[in-house]
């Protein structure tokens, strides 16, 4: 019984302790001129969907609900954001050449089509980020058209 108590206390202390570890927050003021939404004429429902489902990890601004500020969730998230932004940053869209835009759009389409994005671990908590079948078709069609217009 004593051992259980000690373990519980150690875990509690560890949990409190890691809350003091520094975290990089993915947050910045304003949206750069190169943002996907600013340079493309995006219909408002698609705009909204992308903002909710993609921008947390694929832009310079993450919406942080309280549980994302708690460790170790914050670390987990930090890793994903770093990786996500390296793959695709919607805020920097217009800094890409047409060739790379076409490549990115192709990947966006494939990822959404196959259901690999948004990630399951993300939609598990952010229910509203998940795509319905209709939304998948809608977004893919938009991205296809954009790719053809490059």
């Amino acid at each position: 019984m004593k051992a259980v108590k000690i373990i519980a206390i150690v875990l509690l202390v560890a949990f409190v302790g890691i809350q003091f570890m520094p975290v990089e927050r993915n947050q910045s003021d304003g949206v750069p001129k190169t943002d996907f939404m600013l340079v493309n004429d995006v219909p408002s429902d698609i705009k909204n969907k992308l903002q909710v489902s993609c921008y947390d990890c694929h832009s310079n601004n993450t919406q942080y609900p309280w549980y994302n500020k708690v460790q170790p969730v914050a670390w987990f998230l930090e890793g994903h954001i770093k990786e996500g932004k390296a793959e695709l940053n919607f805020n920097e869209w217009d800094s890409l050449s047409s060739r790379r835009k076409a490549s990115k759009l192709r990947s966006i389409i494939k990822q959404i089509e196959s259901g690999e994005m948004p990630m399951d671990s993300y939609t598990l908590i952010h229910k509203e980020a998940a795509f319905s079948e209709e939304e998948i078709q809608q977004v893919i069609k938009y991205m296809e058209n954009l790719k053809d217009s490059l």
Partner: protein, 186 residues
């Protein structure tokens, strides 16, 4: 009570040492990238041209023909290194701009090929092939190449080969001979 104090102290120490370790790791990492930049500059002076890139691309194609994910990944890493070492100073300003864009795009696809499953490797190989074709149009090559085309893969897809015979890198053993020569280069 004494136990409690001890464990709190232990945990704090652990946390501190962990934070310290992370900091160190970061520094090591910076150091590694600095080194890499240096070796890149060395390579720029050496003979690293379009032919090397093309050879790497062709061995990547062979690996995909053989359904070999691991070999494709290895060829992918070589390709990434060759793109990095590419010397474009001999080209005109406009060509250089184009080459920068082609190589930026192609490098990204090669990087994905390094870390992906076979079907993803093939998806990236499709766009990489387009990049390579555009690159060769600028740089030229000593090799005799065949641009081949498979109408079935992803709405029609091309690749480059040194053999006239079709060996399809998108289907491998599943449909090895699907496709036709659509253009000869050189």
């Amino acid at each position: 009570m004494k136990n409690l104090k001890m464990s709190i102290a232990a945990m704090l120490l652990l946390t501190l040492s962990f934070a310290n370790g992370q900091e160190k790791e970061k520094m090591n990492h910076d150091h590694a990238t600095m080194k890499m930049d240096h070796s890149k500059m060395m390579n720029m002076n050496n003979d690293a041209k379009a032919e090397v890139i093309l050879t790497d691309y062709l061995s990547l194609k062979e690996a995909l023909v053989a359904d070999n994910t691991k070999k494709a990944a290895e060829a992918g890493s070589k390709l990434v290194a060759s793109f990095k070492a590419f010397d474009r100073t001999a080209y005109t300003g406009e060509e250089q701009m184009e080459l920068i864009e082609i190589i930026a795009d192609a490098t990204e696809h090669a990087e994905h090929i390094v870390k992906s499953e076979l079907d993803h490797q093939r998806e990236h190989f499709k766009v990489l092939s387009k990049d390579m074709t555009d690159m060769v149009a600028i740089t030229g090559t000593d090799k005799k190449l065949y641009e081949q085309f498979c109408p079935m893969y992803d709405g029609g897809t091309a690749w480059l080969s040194m053999n006239e015979d079709i060996k399809n890198p998108y289907y491998g053993s599943k449909m090895l001979t699907c496709g036709k020569v659509q253009k000869e280069i050189n």
